[in-house]
Symmetry: C2
Subunit: 246 residues, 2 copies
């Protein structure tokens, strides 16, 4: 066990709250005992250091990776309002080859880290492996994305790309939710393809819209104008699951 944390290290970990410094160091942070234990199980290779107020919960981990710190120190490095006993520093995942078999989820400019993380968690629930993000989509290593994903970001292949050329080069159907789409409960969605989900305020971008060849609509009846994008993603993925594609 390593005891305490230097001021410089506190400063360094705090810098990882920002994308610029994460990219520079190719390091990010995850928080909470449960998520760190999942990371130890699934992506032990990525974990560099664990900072915790309660080392007993990490009994099985090599002692030299565990740093015992005070609640006050944890507060200084945490990105959470209510820090959760432990924070770990992880290396960026390797960029995996994108597998174009199976269903791909494409995110076109999702901005809210909570929505983004929730979408990853939902995608993993339904067995999707591959997420393609437009270059203006929020960073997967953003602490709020990581937390909202409940660890799913560790296990998924998430790739940032110019979305239009990727979709143009793709042979299968391109699904997307549009107000002018066809009833998602009835439309034939039995072919593998890309499912595009658009930005919170503006929906699918102008460059991508003409590439959607299987537009889907989630039928609604109330006065509210739209569904939250993570809810819409959940409902559409559920429809693919129901038809046995996932």
């Amino acid at each position: 066990l390593v005891s305490g944390i230097s001021k410089n290290k506190i400063k360094f970990i705090r810098s990882l709250h920002k994308k610029k410094y994460r990219d520079e160091n190719r390091l990010f942070m995850i928080e909470g005992v449960k998520m760190i234990q999942e990371a130890l199980r699934d992506r032990n290779d990525l974990i560099q250091e664990i900072y915790t107020t309660d080392p007993n919960v990490f009994e099985d981990v090599q002692k030299e990776r565990i740093h015992v710190i005070s609640a006050k120190e944890l507060e200084q490095i945490s990105a959470l309002k209510t820090p959760q006993k432990a924070l770990a520093i992880l290396a960026y995942k390797k960029d995996n080859e994108v597998d174009t078999n199976g269903i791909i989820l494409a995110l076109d400019g999702i901005q809210d880290p909570g929505n983004f993380g929730t979408i990853l968690r939902t995608a993993e629930w339904f067995g999707i492996q591959t997420i393609i993000c437009s270059e203006d989509t929020v960073d997967q290593y953003n602490p709020k994305c990581v937390q909202a994903s409940m660890g799913s970001m560790l296990r998924l292949t998430i790739s940032y790309k110019a979305l239009a050329p990727f979709i143009e080069s793709y042979a299968n159907p391109v699904y997307g939710t549009l107000l002018s789409g066809n009833d998602c409960y009835k439309e034939d969605i039995t072919e593998n393809g890309i499912i595009v989900m658009g930005n919170e305020g503006n929906g699918i971008s102008d460059a991508i819209l003409p590439l959607i060849n299987k537009p889907l609509l989630i039928p609604g009846s109330g006065k509210t104008e739209s569904l939250n994008v993570s809810i819409a993603t959940g409902i559409i993925l559920s429809e693919f699951k129901r038809r046995r594609l996932l």
Copy 2:
């Protein structure tokens, strides 16, 4: 048009960020031009005052309700990180009689205001009118709930009650998502009833669990342990919609 805002008024509006003072005054706030315009359309009766940096967008509103303030003043009264041009003070809705016909959504201890608001927005999309909340569910007038609901909270009947006695007195099926439930795509869900959604971390509470007589499961396949509660709600309501109950 009224110009400016007093220090006391700033203090008063800030106090409405807290439930205690909202309940004392039976007043709450909503933010953003779009949401206020929706409120003017749907619940004009509730709107007391509008504070805005841009009075031109409220041209049709009686001038004495419009207070023109600076961006700095708006920042002082806003509950948002990025204030959005306007903030309105509204009176609490009247408690409507709960309509036990049709499908009722019951929330059992939802804590996160973002989840709560998103659930309201989703419920309204699918045509649900009545939401019953356990007494430990987050306050509907919490500024973050209001914003995440995108105005749906203004139009729905939302009632806080001891949930167990309410459900016990109810004759129709009681649906709820449980890991031991039946496949929600196949289970007969054609009868009107209550749909219970549980707390983010703990699920449906011990007092309510034995009252669920139609347990449902959303089939999943990944390593993630659960779905976010607002996503699960969206998927279950979508299934009721698909079977023509909503």
